[in-house]
């Protein structure tokens, strides 16, 4: 199992290197107050990582807020019982 995981990781690292080498061109970013140029591969990676992290954070916030609300309601019920 561990060997398979290592193999998959090496494969993706190699694929990232190849894609990065093939897409060495730059992407222009204009944030109004600043203009940035990033390599295409880095921009792709940054978009993927940021999207993943934001998605995870949103889901975690939703779940934890719901849990907190339920706990509070259960506490109120216990007091009234």
């Amino acid at each position: 199992m561990r060997l398979i995981v290592i193999f998959v990781l090496v494969f993706f690292a190699a694929a990232g290197l190849v894609v990065g080498a093939l897409n060495a061109g730059l992407v222009d970013y204009d944030f109004a107050f600043a203009q940035v140029q990033l390599p295409k591969g880095a921009a792709l990676l940054a978009a993927l990582v940021l999207g993943w992290l934001l998605g995870g954070l949103t889901a975690w916030l939703g779940v934890s807020l719901r849990h907190r609300r339920r706990k509070k309601e259960a506490g109120k019920k216990q007091v009234h019982a």
Partner: protein
């Protein structure tokens, strides 16, 4: 050159994947926890139902360790410890619960009530009394606390306080506690009688009648007071009223009643009363009383004839023993030896028999008690009706 917004669909896809991965992971985590909790809970419940309390305690202890906030698990554990007789552990557990700073008021009072029960079981009645009194003052679980307080005062034989709290319980719950209060007054009357305070005893009996007009025990005590004062005619009336109030107590009432009949020379009235009783009461006691009466008045032959006729209708070992005793004088030789063996046998048979049984918990007793020694309920011990008993 590629515009930067070409990466947006990829970012959105990554967002969706991240969101889904997080939800999946949290659902798996909570599901596993719930499964583990509920399977443990049901395993514990199963052990409880199978009367395997040791294993149930083990499971519940692990549950309590798993989730320290679960007050209910702690309460259940404390109950289990108390029922198993491990009162010190139950006390420690409930004390720990009560000392928790973040406990809600209702839960705290439940824990206090449980702690009070632990103290009661451990015999620390003063501590239990203080706790229950606090609960009553706080008006939290007051009926239960009052019931426990009444039990404590009964144990301490502090009948005045028991009456006071029984009345409070009556007003609080609206339930009729007057038969129990009447018994408390009877206890006070009995104590006064034993100390020679006869006027005080009569006052207490009056209070008992006010609580329960057909209180057998109060009637019997009234009869006893009259008989001790030499007023046998009044004693007869009281004893007859006692039988009228509850016919089940005939075996208890008949001996002093017959004595009062004899002392007041009302044997005709005795015969009439016992004859009437035979119609209403199916035990052997009135038959034996009438047999003795006929034996004294009409002679042995008539008495034996009456007893034999009655024994055909209501077979009884006590009746058989009386018959053997009555016919023993007329028998000689080998038959007499056989009768002696028979008499010893019946005596031994009766010696091992419980004559009374509590109608509530089934406790068997050889002597009569007004309060059941097992379940502590009043007036529930009654004579057993059967061939070997009444």
């Amino acid at each position: 050159m590629m515009p930067w917004y070409a990466l947006l669909p990829l970012a959105a896809l990554a967002f969706a994947l991240g969101w889904w991965a997080c939800r999946y992971a949290s659902a798996r985590r909570s599901g596993a926890a719930v499964n583990e909790l509920s399977s443990d809970y049901f395993r514990g419940l199963n052990y409880l139902l199978n009367e395997e309390q040791d294993k149930a305690i083990e499971v519940f202890l692990r549950l309590a360790e798993y989730n320290r906030d679960t007050v209910e698990t702690h309460l259940a554990l404390g109950n289990l410890f108390r029922r198993r007789g491990e009162v010190d552990r139950a006390i420690r557990l409930h004390q720990h619960l009560v000392s928790r700073p973040n406990l809600s008021e209702p839960t705290k009072t439940v824990a206090l009530l449980e702690l009070g029960e632990d103290y009661m079981r451990a015999g620390l009645l003063d501590r239990a009394e203080a706790l229950f009194a606090d609960l009553v003052a706080m008006n939290a679980h007051a009926p239960s606390a009052l019931r426990h307080l009444i039990a404590i005062y009964q144990h301490e034989r502090d009948w005045n306080k028991a009456i006071e709290h029984a009345r409070r319980l009556e007003t609080m719950t609206g339930e009729d506690e007057s038969p129990m209060i009447a018994q408390f007054y009877c206890e006070l009357a009995e104590r006064s009688r034993q100390h020679g305070a006869r006027v005080e005893a009569r006052d207490y009996l009056e209070q008992a009648f006010r609580c329960q007009s057909d209180c057998v025990r109060a009637w019997m005590l009234t009869g006893r007071l009259h008989a001790e004062d030499g007023h046998h005619a009044e004693a007869v009336q009281a004893y007859e009223a006692a039988i009228g109030a509850d016919i089940a107590f005939v075996p208890e009432i008949l001996p002093p009643l017959l004595n009062s009949y004899a002392c007041s020379q009302q044997m005709d009235r005795a015969e009439r009363f016992l004859r009437g009783l035979l119609e209403r009461y199916h035990g052997i006691s009135p038959v034996l009383a009438l047999t003795r009466l006929y034996q004294q008045r009409d002679g042995q032959r008539e008495a034996v004839g009456f007893l034999t006729g009655q024994l055909r209708q209501r077979p009884s070992v006590r009746g058989l023993m009386a018959l053997i005793d009555a016919t023993m004088d007329r028998i000689e030789g080998e038959a007499r030896e056989n009768f002696l063996i028979l008499r010893d046998l019946t005596r031994k048979l009766l010696e091992g028999q419980a004559m009374y049984r509590c109608s509530r918990c089934g406790f068997g007793a050889k002597a009569h008690h007004w309060q059941c020694p097992s379940c502590k309920s009043w007036s529930t011990i009654r004579p057993i009706h059967g061939v070997a008993n009444e």
